[in-house]
């Protein structure tokens, strides 16, 4: 473990130097332990792939004091719980996944192959970040790895499922983006009125379930009401 200041209001704890399930589980165990204790100097913790940013109030504790204060939490170990599997119904291809043919051609596959390969694994949610509700997923099959668009789209609809290099992910909100879009889920990944506001939580596993367009609109109505 390594400790570093990240400015005057954050302590960075580094647990490893590679993306690894074991390291990431430890990250979340320690982050949860600090959060649960919620000491009065704590602003918030942000667990990532291999590290935790502990944001603290420097008017209450100095950097050295925070280093001491977090020691008891560093021994927290991951719980041996059955992970939650979140099913993500997804329409592949067509207007929902306009880049699926490109992904197939790029890898010498058919679009059906792409769907099968993409919807097969259980993807681990390593962390959330970037935009509200965006999950960094691990475990994509490299046979469907595809470089990003050279020119990002100005508008990618919420729920779009994409591939960027060896990564796959879901756009939780409408935003610009350069990922190759292969499908779209009708589920809401970010609902600010809810607590927690995001569908996916770190440590969850994600399974993409191919659905038809009819099923998409049925679920879409339930999730979003009349919103498009």
């Amino acid at each position: 473990m390594q400790f570093k200041p990240a400015g005057d209001s954050a302590l960075l704890i580094i647990f490893g130097d590679r993306i690894d399930e074991g390291i990431n589980k430890k990250v979340h165990a320690v982050a949860n332990a600090i959060e649960k204790a919620s000491p009065d100097w704590l602003i918030e913790v942000v667990p990532t792939y291999t590290s935790i940013y502990v944001y603290y109030n420097p008017l209450k504790l100095s950097y050295q004091e925070v280093l001491d204060a977090i020691k008891p939490f560093l021994s927290a170990e991951p719980k041996e719980e059955k992970p939650r599997i979140v099913e993500i119904p997804t329409v592949y291809g067509g207007e929902f996944g306009p880049d699926i043919e490109f992904v197939a051609q790029h890898n010498g596959l058919t679009t059906d192959d792409v769907i099968e390969i993409h919807s097969k694994p259980l993807y681990r949610v390593y962390m959330l970040g970037f935009t509200p509700g965006f999950a960094y997923l691990g475990g994509m099959d490299e046979r469907i790895a595809t470089p990003r668009l050279e020119k990002p789209r100005l508008k990618v609809p919420a729920g779009s499922v994409g591939i960027a290099g060896k990564q796959t992910g879901i756009y939780p909100i409408e935003s610009p983006g350069g990922w190759r879009l292969i499908g779209r889920t009708p589920l809401r990944l970010f609902t600010p009125e809810k607590d927690p506001p995001t569908l996916l939580q770190p440590g969850d596993y994600v399974k993409f379930i191919p659905i038809s367009e009819e099923e998409f609109w049925e679920i879409h109505k339930r999730e979003w009401g009349e919103q498009k």
Binding site: A6, G7, G129
Partner: protein, 331 residues
Amino acid sequence: MIELINVQSLTTIQDLGRYGYQKFGIPVSGVMDEVSARLANYLVGNHDNAPLIEFVLKGPTIRFHSSAVFAVAGNVDVRLNGIPIEPWQSHWAKRGDVLEIGALKSGVYGYIAFAGGILCDKILGSCSTYLRAKLGRALKQGNKLKLGYAILTGKEGKVLPEALIPRYSNESEIKVILGPQLEHFTEKGIETFLSSTYEVTPNSDRMGYRLEGPEIEHSEKGADIITDAIPLGAIQVPANGKPIIMLADRQTTGGYAKIGVVARVDVPKVAQTRAGGKLRFKAINVKEAQELLRKREFLFRNIKRLLDGEVRGYKIKALGEEFMIFVEKEK
């Protein structure tokens, strides 16, 4: 209630930010310049975190539908019913009055605070606007805002002493704490960063300021890191070697190496630097940065007490330097 009758730039409701949700990917957002914003709130008797209006470069025109006490923070011409009034002071407005705010003569962000604060439906514990995720909205002509309840009597006529008014220049030295990914840069790269002048580009907004200047050399580890979190004021250096300072609306995580993080006391200086403005960086250690922050907060507590009428403030000159001293009032 107040009504915006003319809005000419990005104008939003902000408080000091949305905390506790970065682990879900939700940015902190909040005011870009906490010094100006907090002083504006103090002037009208509010606490630090009261929601207020933030505008960019050009202020809005507002009609009051009920009596209110307000203060404008910024180097700007202000008129109430056509009559010039001072910023950095609290004023009384009655029903029907019209407040016109001109263009900032320096700085980028201005603030309008109202006694009682602006009432808003909090989202995830905060009134801060984050447009990319539709948390809140960009205020438009015709929008009406309710104000929180406050006793107005005695709140008007507060004046921030001249010596305490923030002055934002377009050439600043910015204090930074180096790291946390210093190993991604060569010694030469770090030297370049600390000895060069960087210019704020027009490609800058509430999310971050992109800088133009000498390229910062990465080490053999390169510009990319395993994605981690991004603190306020973090200075990312992508592969092109040009630094980006991450500000209020920054994404919570990112994959570029960070050469340093701006000391919290200097974040407002960065935010108030216009496109074309020049920044130089000076390394300090964490202890020094935290000491500066403690000093600022001590001053802020006293400014609040001064404006609340609990202490008197005097400006004194000693050894060629000016100081503010605060003296308890006799009870």
